[in-house]
């Protein structure tokens, strides 16, 4: 038995207080009036002896109370075998199940070692199982039930996610706040170097967490992988389609690999590629002959390494006919269809075919036939067509409105709904024109157009921009390009014309990428080329208020969204590598190829020094290895552990307080009665 804070015994001097109060201090009692003392005799000695006799019980209780208080502060303890001590220590086992753990038998080794640590813990010790994939996932609740803990470890499955040890430290920091007592953390991982966070300080764990690392891989393993694929998402002309891929080798010797292009499960092209030692090589397939509709494609290599899961990179391609674009203009305007049509034909890989129609002949046209519609300085539309066009936009359609001098004479932009404040003729200015002063490079219509530098604008309609996003402004602040979402669709407003009269933008080189990107943007055909990474998010709908059901089919053919999620989910996280089938809220079908993050393909492990530093053993002598980590931790638990007795002392003190109160109250009660 010992005391954790023996210096508190100095407080034993406080025992003098009750001694002084009871024995040294003169007893005072309240005198009581009486009619006459003629029949009384003083019996002082007898009364004092009696009083001391009775108060000794109270004195003893108070002395005991003070002594127990001092004892509690001194924190007595006894040494008991650690195995028999039921402490509030929590054993936390974290198994890495990131993509790299698919290599060889890493995950199986990690689970086996975790089971071994679990079996060696004291029977009464609670434990909890976590898996580290894209984040820290609890596989069980804190419990001392060995069977459920073993089941939780067995339930850890490999994932395609990219792990990050920073997530582990971050999760443990928040987890430890909700746990009382120390945490004994055991981490079973391949200790992949690429999973280290950018800063080593991000690995810092709370002081109450003791970390024991269990590396299941001690050396680097050679691995080849298809690092990236560059392929179009949509194909209108198979002759123009190209597929480029990068083959990477990690810790590999120079070798020749065979790269194959697989379309819908059939290998359509094969190439040999020389991959330098620990380097990269490019491979290009000049034809992508896929059928109409969506095709599931992959670039695959024959690596015969320990991690075959990264030997293929998936991507989906949609082949379709060119989509129709409706271009409405005033009958007198013959210039703008030419400029816009030529720009559209020169770009967009033959994705669109433009149909030019005068506005007064549009009453019988169904807008839903067109990928998007352009209104070139059209001041008025047939009312029936305008109503159809409005429904078309709200249903997800796209419209580009160019405001020339005709619209400058009206008070409101049709469909877009913005009030026209005034029409500005810059030809009267000393310079004769204005240029673009401010442009949002993140807007799709401007991103590839080099901010329209050099384009001269002689005329612009100044509109009220409230409720819309201004993508570009002239140098005087006049909004030049506005983007507005209406329902599921959107409308772009160019406050100048497309006819080369109100500006020279159609003659400018930036006009072609502007038209191309605007066409893809408004038609919704800007589907990403190549593939997505595991862990990234897909946008399922664009407006919260629409309760249209979406559908997601994962690579295993399951529908992971519940009915409620299907009507409310805005996004969906892609968790597995393979092909996802989507039906989005706007009714469009899509197929997405998903690949694991190729940083997981680099199977290089952390150095022993780094591991020792993380585990808090800087000298490296106790650097955990697969062989010695568990016995070392076991050796620690077999020692004697101090078992504090302060709780029992406090319990006895509580009983003493009750007894003291009872005895003291009896004395006071007698006095009150008298």
């Amino acid at each position: 038995m010992g005391f954790l804070a023996p210096w508190f015994f100095a407080g034993a001097a406080a025992l003098a207080i009750p001694l002084y109060l009871h024995l040294l201090r003169r007893h005072t009692s309240n005198p009581q009036p009486f009619s006459s003392l003629m029949f009384f005799e003083a019996r002082t000695q007898s009364s004092i002896r009696h009083r001391r006799l009775r108060y000794l019980v109270l004195l003893a209780l108070r002395l005991a109370l003070m002594a127990l208080l001092v004892l509690a502060f001194a924190d007595p303890f006894i040494n008991r075998p650690a195995a028999s001590v039921t402490t509030n220590k929590l054993l936390v086992l974290v198994v890495d199940n990131s993509f790299s753990m698919r290599a060889g038998s890493r995950l199986a080794d990690a689970k086996r070692e975790a089971l071994s640590v679990l079996a060696s813990r004291p029977p009464a010790e609670r434990a909890q199982i976590f898996a580290l994939g894209s984040g820290l996932e609890a596989m069980s609740q804190p419990t001392d039930d060995s069977q459920s803990l073993q089941n939780a470890i067995s339930a850890v499955q490999p994932t395609d996610a990219r792990g990050n040890f920073g997530d582990l430290a971050r999760g443990l920091r928040s987890f430890s706040d909700s746990v009382q007592g120390p945490i004994d953390l055991h981490f079973f991982s391949d200790m992949q170097k690429s999973e280290m966070p950018a800063n080593f300080s991000d690995l810092a764990l709370p002081a109450k967490v003791s970390l024991t690392l269990h590396p299941v891989a001690t050396s680097n393993i050679a691995n080849w992988a298809v690092e990236s694929v560059n392929a179009p998402g949509q194909i209108w002309d198979v002759k123009k389609a190209r597929v480029q891929a990068v083959i990477a080798g990690y810790e590999t010797p120079a070798a020749t690999r065979t790269a194959s292009l697989v379309v819908n499960g059939k290998t359509v092209a094969t190439q040999k590629v020389q991959v330098p030692a620990n380097g990269r090589a490019n491979v290009e397939f000049t034809s992508l002959n896929v059928p109409y509709g969506f095709s599931r494609c992959a670039v695959r290599i024959d690596s015969a390494d320990a991690l075959p899961a990264d030997d293929a990179s998936y991507f989906a391609v949609e082949r379709s006919d060119p989509r129709q674009v409706l271009f409405l203009h005033e009958a007198s305007d013959r210039r703008s269809p030419i400029y816009f049509g030529d720009a559209l034909a020169a770009s967009a890989e033959s994705a669109f075919a433009m149909e030019s129609v005068p506005a007064d002949q549009a009453s019988s046209i169904q807008p839903s036939r067109y990928a998007f519609i352009v209104l070139s300085d059209v001041a008025s539309l047939p009312s029936a067509f305008e109503n159809n066009l409005d429904r078309y936009i709200r249903g997800g359609g796209g419209v580009l409105i160019a405001a020339g001098t005709n619209l400058g004479r009206v008070s409101r932009i049709p469909l877009f709904g913005a009030n026209i404040l005034n029409a500005r003729y810059y030809s009267n200015d000393p310079t004769g024109f204005l240029t673009v002063g401010d442009a949002d490079p993140s807007h799709p219509s401007i991103a590839k157009a080099d901010r329209w530098i050099g384009a001269k604008f002689y005329f612009a309609v100044n509109v009220d921009a409230s409720g819309s996003q201004v993508a570009a402004r002239l140098t005087d602040g006049t909004p030049l390009l506005l983007d507005k979402k209406i329902g599921e669709g959107r409308v772009l407003l160019l406050t100048s014309g497309l006819d080369n009269l109100t500006n020279d933008f159609p003659l400018h080189p930036d006009f072609v990428p502007f038209v191309e990107q605007t066409a893809f943007y408004l038609s919704g055909s800007e589907r990403p080329a190549g593939s997505q990474l595991v862990g990234s998010y897909l946008q399922l709908r664009t407006a919260k208020e629409r309760a249209v059901s979406v559908e997601v089919v994962d690579p295993e053919g399951r529908r992971p969204l519940s009915l409620q999620e299907a009507t409310t989910a805005q996004t969906y996280q892609l968790n597995e590598a393979g092909f996802y089938e989507l039906r989005l809220a706007n009714g469009r079908q899509d197929v997405v190829g998903v690949n694991a993050d190729r940083r997981e393909s680099d199977l290089a492990v952390m150095s022993r020094d780094a591991l020792s530093l993380w585990a808090g053993k800087p000298n490296g002598s106790n650097a955990p290895t697969a062989a010695n980590a568990v016995p070392a931790s076991l050796q620690a638990t077999e020692k004697f552990a101090p078992h504090s007795l302060w709780w029992y002392v406090m319990l006895v003190m509580l009983l003493t307080v009750i007894a003291e109160s009872w005895v003291a109250n009896r004395h006071l009660g007698v006095r009150r009665e008298e």
């Binding site: 005198p31 009036p33 009619s35 006459s36 005799e41 007898s46 009083r51 006095r671 008298e674």
Partner: protein, 295 residues
């Protein structure tokens, strides 16, 4: 004032039918027989004349027939004189419950005043004393006497200490007429001093009654632990043990009561112990009953 005249108390005393039957001199005026042969109509006896007798009392008819002079004596009905001596020393202020000794004494005195004046037309007076005479209300049957007496009781607040010897000569001075003298006190004096002080009143033909008013805790003190007691008259402090209070004190106070009672009887003085926890009407009824039987 009304608190002294509790109708319930007085009604129960009247129901004892003492008014019609008792002849206690002066206690219930009008119907009580006088302790002296006087000059009223009811014949008592003849006595031979002796020199010095008042010739007006000679029965001349008997003298004419017998030539002997006899005095005719009667049991006359006459108003008596009630005087209450109330001890208003500080010790009378003691109480262990809701009624202090001085209050209890006030109740007794007020009840007796009421009976004497309202019911029996007796003259009644009051002397309030401690170590001197603090208030004196001459016995009278005048209208408003009862109110004066009750007011005198009302103002009899305890103070100072009891001293029977000092106001004695005042008692002698005030009590020139014979009658009933009631002394209400706790008599925390040696019994011989009390009797020696009160006995001269008896010599003047007064009937003296001692009402010994004591609190039950004065007779049987109960102490749970040693306490310091303070004498209410002398402010003397004394630490007292429960054992002494339970044993020795009780023996002493009992001996004191017994001695006072026996000495009073020996001096021809009536003695009644009044405990303040005893119902007032019960105590008075007992007193009157005893007096009725005695007479």
């Amino acid at each position: 004032m009304q608190r002294f005249l509790d109708p319930a108390v007085l009604a129960r005393i009247s129901n004892l039918d003492l008014i019609a039957k008792t002849v206690v001199d002066g206690f219930v005026a009008g119907l009580h027989r006088s302790p002296d042969f006087g000059f009223s109509q009811e014949f008592a006896e003849y006595r031979a004349y002796s020199p010095g007798d008042d010739l007006r009392h000679v029965d001349w008819n008997v003298f004419a027939r017998t030539e002997r002079a006899y005095l005719k004596r009667y049991r006359g009905e006459t108003n008596s004189l009630l005087t209450i001596l109330l001890d208003a020393s500080s010790s009378m202020n003691y109480s262990s419950h809701s009624v202090s000794k001085i209050d209890y004494a006030r109740f007794v005195a007020a009840s007796l005043f009421y009976m004497a004046i309202q019911n029996q037309r007796d003259a009644a007076g009051l002397i309030v004393f401690d170590d001197e005479v603090r208030n004196y209300i001459r016995p009278s049957t005048r209208f408003g006497q009862l109110h004066r007496l009750l007011a005198g009781l009302e103002h009899a607040e305890p103070r100072a200490r009891t001293d029977f010897a000092k106001p004695l000569h005042h008692f002698q001075q005030f009590l020139r007429r014979r009658g009933l003298v009631l002394v209400l006190s706790d008599f925390f004096e040696p019994p011989e001093n009390v009797i020696r002080t009160v006995e001269p009143l008896r010599f003047h033909g007064n009937e003296v009654v001692l009402f010994h008013v004591l609190d039950p805790r004065e007779l049987q003190p109960q102490l749970g632990e040693p306490v310091v007691l303070v004498d209410s008259e002398t402010s003397q402090r004394m630490e007292v043990t429960p054992e002494y209070a339970h044993n020795d004190y009780r023996q002493k106070i009992d001996a004191h009561v017994e001695e006072l009672s026996s000495r009073a009887r020996g001096a021809g003085i009536d003695y009644f112990l009044l405990r303040t926890d005893r119902p007032l009407d019960s105590a008075l009824a007992e007193y009157l009953t005893i007096r009725q039987e005695r007479n």
